[in-house]
Symmetry: C2
Subunit: 200 residues, 2 copies
């Protein structure tokens, strides 16, 4: 039934809006259902608790990223450099659709019950490990420097894109494609002016 699916979706969307603006703890189930114009009964038909709704938001956010990452990584035709580009692009493009979910993910995760928190942290760890394996594969293939420290480099690369969730305006002056180009160039080549050094 489409109507039921829509109601669950509506609760999730409205909650993402409210959790992002006011915070998870500061948003009551009452406020969520009032914003949609339904009863608390409708809420508890879909979610055992507000905490379970938060878990669903976080799980859905990270699982979506994992699926997109998997699609990119499994293509055996592409170089590691190309895959790196595509993951950076995927993460930056994702801001438009998922910025609020991302902020809730990073900011409100600590309000989850311990078992839910561990479940989500495990998925987040898989995302990072797959990223790191890409760096390691790139080193093995001679695309990336053999001297790299893959785990630390992975955290650094993740930092570049994760941080963009806090400031990047997808409808602003610079496009998602242009920002991806800038960041992949930073990651691959750095900022040092090698031309000038050669001349000297």
């Amino acid at each position: 039934m489409k109507g039921i699916g829509n109601m669950k979706e509506k609760i999730i969307e409205t909650s993402i809006e409210l959790f992002d603006r006011k915070g998870f703890k500061e948003t009551s189930v009452q406020e969520i259902v009032e914003a949609i114009g339904v009863t608390k009964g409708a809420f508890y038909y879909y979610f055992k608790s507000k905490e379970e709704l938060l878990k669903d938001i976080c799980i859905s956010y990270i699982e979506d990223l994992l699926e997109q990452q998997q699609r990119i990584l499994q293509d055996s035709e592409k170089s590691c450099t190309k895959k790196l580009y595509e993951i950076v692009y995927m993460l930056i493009r994702n801001i438009k659709a998922r910025r609020k979910s991302a902020r809730i993910f990073f900011r409100e995760m600590r309000h989850l019950h311990e078992d839910h928190l561990q479940e989500i942290k495990a998925k987040r760890r898989v995302f990072r490990q797959h990223y790191q394996q890409l760096i390691e594969a790139g080193i093995a293939r001679g695309e990336f420097k053999p001297t790299l420290t893959p785990d630390m480099i992975t955290f650094g690369i993740l930092g570049i894109t994760n941080w963009s969730y806090y400031w990047f305006q997808p409808d602003g002056e610079i496009s998602e494609e242009a920002l991806t180009d800038i960041y992949v160039d930073l990651i691959l080549n750095g900022i040092k002016n090698r031309e000038s050094l050669k001349e000297k």
Copy 2:
């Protein structure tokens, strides 16, 4: 009077502890004073409100960073590359002493009153602008590539270190110096294996 100074410091330290663990909204003034073993009167002697205390924590965090950054930037003897290294090192070293303040800064800032929020955002902007001016100076001096987009590169570089506040363990396997070396090398030279390309 040393005793009074200590009490204010104690309130701030205890609040940082509680705000980080439980969240700003979830921590009451009552809990803060109970944790120290004083009365609410002691709290309100130093702070008009819990919000003002949060403002003080955020202001002190960003002003401290600005001062350290200024000390590094004003040295006219040093190259821009060296200054970049020192800012990255300063931010990573800062994790040990200020991680909890940093997390409160990033996570709880939205609970500040509008005028306080603007005051803090202005200081944060200055930090970023000074960083960007360093990139621009490095380009002008031929140290960094002339093709860089300084504002976007600055956000990217900031992302690398800001993100480390979420995962880096100062007492863990890798030292602050080693992590700084890895990140400055990433920023300056990137991960691409140029040796291998030359051979082909």
